[in-house]
Symmetry: C2
Subunit: 333 residues, 2 copies
């Protein structure tokens, strides 16, 4: 890719370092995505799989396995597995969120229909399942089965906790683990497991992925209230308008007086939003300083990710993963 | 259940014979369906799991394992697994079909929403995955991963083949394997595998489930054109109105002259249906004798199912499974 020299961002450095393996992952993804009888499948997925995703999760698996000295081929299977699971959840999320755009392009459910998004998501999930069975590692299967359950449970929890003002930070954290961190931590952990790394390292890889994923999602939620649309591609206040309870609002509700609670009840719980409400919500977040508290939380998770890697041996990939944790929170620092 | 004496139908005889194991399956299903944090999950699934399903697929697994002399507990895990996979596909099917009723009750997507149906289906699939990993059998995982892929591919194929007059009997068969037979054959096969049955018996169990599932689905499609609504719960001609290409129509199209082909193109491909079209369609099916040809196909698959069991040792369960194959086609004989 010619990135070796020019690469500055950590995920580009990772991609440059892992380029041969990443090519093998992309080849395997293309091969396993194909369906002899149902051409709709690659149509729907090519759209997503080739839509400029950074392959962040596959890189986490490849980097973990490489750091642990793995010399086999199943890291490629597992990297493709996590990308398939990720893509499957995106397809189903777009149905659930009724999204019209992802990564600046129309979503599959808009281009085709919800039916294809549901069924092709199921297809990718079953293909992921086949890929991981091929590794022959029951421990890997156990980790990915548990991650899948955490993802699904988190998604349902998000649906039921939505618009419920009693949502706590603990529930938020569980939703975030489901949405993002469970697949990050499974991606890094299975890399260590397939390489037969010592238990302390497998645990460290899990901790890194978990903390990185949580930091990643908190940053995303924070940027919704203070991001630059030209950078984030999101309008400020989308989550407020969609009545999503994210960390800045959960913290503000916990600190709210009666009037403020009535405001949140009207705007989030009842969905009765008027002109000026977003400005008032922003004022409340600022009054209770919850944006900077949320920022502190994200930074603390990034630090936790970095400390976890202390258990890993010195390695250029370890340095890149440490830089990646810093990069994830750089947008809000 | 007090069914031992009164039981006449084969699935009731199976239930009576397997009653202790079935109770364990139901207990495991209840336990694994629960979610500490997302009460919506058991709400949505209880509705389906307790809505009077016959537990046909779990019974196939239990019967297969029992016939092969299995003495362990993992047959219960696998029976719950296949029921979870079945329930997950029902939830997703209802979204795809935009169904309003199943088994005479409102569907989950109508009672709650499509979002819950998609996500709770994903949850059940991941719970199924966890259950099968607990058996520790890579071969079982391989069989169920392949069945999942066949199911998902068949569903997508059905979507893309819908309303396409060039759909052949071979494509129909693949759709039917995805919709029905893949889970039947996986259910019986894993019963033999977990019991470490000889290969000839494992193969026979697979063949039985495959042929039984195909017979089952062909009967269902045939009854749509000639069933008694008070028995089937379906209106005659629902598939025609929904422009579904099932076996009686595929056979009629293959035998159609130009005028008839124009009729099918207008009604099925273009969806321009007028008063009297269903009567005309029925007349064409009768003119080409495709209802009785379809009936012959179903009977032949039921025979194939029964012959497969010749490889199994003499056993009261074997007799019940033979009777079950006859029972499946009895409604059209």
């Amino acid at each position: 890719m010619g990135l070796d020299e020019a690469a500055t961002k950590p995920h580009e450095q990772l991609a440059a370092h892992l380029t041969a393996k990443l090519d093998a992952v992309n080849e395997l993804i293309r091969k396993r995505m194909a369906s002899r009888h149902a051409p709709r499948i690659p149509e729907v997925t090519a759209h997503l799989v080739e839509a400029g995703g950074k392959r962040l999760r596959p890189m986490l698996t490849l980097a973990a396995a490489d750091m642990c000295g793995y010399g086999g081929e199943f890291d490629v299977h597992l990297a493709a597995t996590v990308e398939f699971i990720h893509t499957a959840t995106l397809l189903h999320d777009d149905v659930v969120d009724e999204s019209a755009q992802r990564r600046g392009r129309p979503t599959a459910n808009l281009l085709w229909d919800n039916k294809s998004s549901v069924l092709v998501g199921d297809y990718l999930f079953s293909r992921a399942f086949q890929l991981m069975v091929e590794t022959g590692s029951l421990r890997v299967l156990d980790i990915l089965a548990n991650a899948s359950a955490t993802i699904a449970e988190g998604e349902v929890l998000q649906l039921t906790a939505a618009r419920d003002l009693s949502t706590t930070e603990a529930i938020y954290l569980q939703i975030v683990r489901g949405k993002t961190a469970a697949l990050f931590s499974a991606a890094t952990e299975v890399g260590g497991v397939i390489a037969s790394a010592p238990e302390t390292q497998v645990r460290a890889l899990y901790e890194y992925g978990d903390a990185l994923g949580i930091a990643f999602q908190i940053v995303d939620d924070l940027l919704d209230y203070q991001g630059d649309m030209s950078v984030t591609g999101k309008n400020v206040g989308d989550d407020f308008r969609e009545r999503k309870l994210t960390l800045p609002v959960i913290k503000a509700i916990a600190a709210a007086d009666d009037d403020e609670r009535a405001f949140w009840r009207r705007t989030i719980e009842k969905g009765d939003q008027r002109d000026g409400d977003l400005d008032h919500a922003m004022a409340l977040l600022n009054a209770h300083d919850t944006l900077s508290q949320t920022r502190q939380d994200a930074l603390a998770w990034a630090e936790k990710a970095k400390s976890a890697l202390a258990a890993m041996p010195e390695h250029s990939l370890r340095t890149m993963l440490i830089d990646l944790a810093d990069y994830v929170v750089a947008r809000i620092s």
